[in-house]
């Protein structure tokens, strides 16, 4: 049963988290801690549970067992019972204010196709944070400038290249000023020549902010540049975890070496 753990300084803590889909176990009693401001990249073969970690943090999935903590308090669960010492699955009221601190960029961008670029970026600041139209527009324009798309604000997303769409999606996620940013294979759906423009934007974000970042990617050059730590996943467990230079250049496990060779 899930139990309360100590309130450490961690931004994120997975305490013996298990996630099963049917009888397929994706995460198997995972323990994981991420410090505030830390940039962690998750690598490993597909199906090894990396994306599930991000999706649990975005509340797109629910844990099967164990507890996810954010900012030292339960996140997948909430305190209950007379003394508040029992944990039950978090309900929407508990989650809503906590989820706002988390943002996500998806592999398939998931922009709103019927809204302009500007409206996409303004949507959450206006209707979640309650900014008025001018404030939200100003914030959105700032961010579109940051991702190099200031002149595209009136376009609809479908008229942009994949790389441009993904940069809008990054601006849209940043518009909520998240403390934790989840990047789920953000360049995997892009033509090769469009990958660099997206990664450059993310390098700028990483360099210019202290947002905690969790990143699933196959771009090892990017992972090396932005990560403090890389975790190698295999079959729902962390196989090894180390600084990028160590893990990428001198991995401990043969499986890690084989994986790194396979993605070349």
């Amino acid at each position: 049963m899930p139990t309360e753990t100590d309130h450490g300084p961690e931004k994120v803590r997975f305490a013996r988290v298990t996630k099963r889909f049917g009888d397929h176990t994706v995460l198997d009693g995972l323990d994981l801690a991420v410090a505030p401001g830390e940039r962690v990249t998750l690598i490993g073969p597909s199906g090894s549970g990396k994306t599930t970690i991000l999706r649990l943090l975005m509340t797109l999935e629910r844990v099967t067992d164990g507890v996810v903590h954010v900012d030292g308090e339960p996140y997948s669960h909430m305190p209950s019972g007379r003394a508040g010492d029992k944990l039950v699955p978090a309900d929407e009221r508990y989650l809503a204010p906590r989820r706002r601190r988390v943002g996500m960029v998806f592999q398939q961008f998931n922009l709103f196709p019927h809204m302009s670029v500007l409206a996409n970026v303004m949507e959450a600041p206006r209707h979640v944070l309650g900014l008025d139209g001018d404030e939200a527009a100003a914030r959105a324009r700032d961010l579109l400038g940051l991702v190099g798309l200031a002149e595209k604000e009136d376009e609809h997303p479908t008229r942009l290249s994949g790389g441009q769409q993904q940069r809008v999606a990054i601006a849209r996620a940043l518009a909520m000023r998240p403390e934790l940013l989840l990047l789920d294979e953000v360049t995997s759906a892009l033509d090769p020549e469009l990958v660099a423009e997206v990664l450059d934007v993310l390098r700028d974000v990483a360099a210019g902010t202290d947002i905690t970042m969790l990143c699933v990617t196959h771009e090892m050059g990017f992972a090396r540049d932005i990560s403090h730590r890389i975790l190698m996943f295999d079959e729902g467990r962390v196989l090894e975890s180390d600084a990028p230079e160590r893990l990428l250049d001198d991995p401990e496990h043969e499986r890690t070496r084989a994986f790194l060779r396979s993605i070349g």
Partner: protein
């Protein structure tokens, strides 16, 4: 044989009925568009104790003839004027079709759109209003148009509860002047003239939304 004088006399009568037909269609479809959306939303995300009976009632209404429903309402709901009653019955009957259309449109909105809404913490109402419904309705606009045309052509059923719509007027004229051929032909022509361009418009719309 075709009597030109009778036709000339019938035309204004038939056209006056057309006004009622048009009114019944517009109001009835407005009822259907709103109530259909309500049924679709309740069935999709309402609590079970209301979603189940609404679903059962909707499939009951869908699978019984509209004319029977008109008669039943006529008998069971006294005190409403025929046009209002007819608009409500026709509108609710079509609402049960439109709820299925909406459902298909909502199902066609990609999962990623919902996930983006969660990632942005958008409140539930805003997700429906600003993200899901605009995309869903766009996808089903041609189907909605087809149902509007189809409802238009079913308004003559309203004559059974004495609404003086176009076919009712044509029939009355036919019996008093013994000129059924002329009055009904004119009514048919007006239906054709009104629904044909609408169908073309709907097909154009369909083609434009297809890409």
């Amino acid at each position: 044989m075709w009597d030109m004088d009778a036709a000339r006399a019938a035309l204004p009568v038939v056209l006056s009925g057309f006004g009622v037909t048009l009114l019944a269609t517009v109001l009835g479809f407005a009822v259907a568009v709103v109530a259909g959306l309500g049924v679709a939303l309740v069935q999709r995300s309402g609590p079970r104790w209301i979603a189940l009976p609404v679903g059962a009632l909707a499939s009951f209404v869908r699978s019984t003839p509209v004319m029977v429903q008109l008669f039943a309402a006529w008998v069971l709901v006294p005190g409403l004027d025929p046009l209002t009653l007819g608009v409500l019955v026709l509108g609710l009957h079509y609402a049960t079709y439109l709820s299925e259309v909406y459902r298909a449109g909502i199902d066609a909105v990609p999962k990623g759109q919902w996930e983006a809404c969660t990632a942005l913490s958008l409140p539930r109402r805003r997700v429906w209003r600003a993200v899901v419904l605009p995309q869903a309705v766009r996808k089903v606009l041609p189907a909605l148009g087809n149902y509007a045309v189809s409802m238009f052509k079913e308004t003559p059923f309203l004559s059974v509860i004495t609404v003086n719509e176009m076919v009712h007027e044509a029939s009355t004229f036919g019996s008093t002047h013994f000129a059924y051929l002329e009055s009904f032909t004119l009514a048919a022509a007006v239906f054709l003239l009104a629904s044909w361009p609408t169908s073309v418009l709907v097909r154009r719309l369909e083609a434009r939304l297809a890409h």
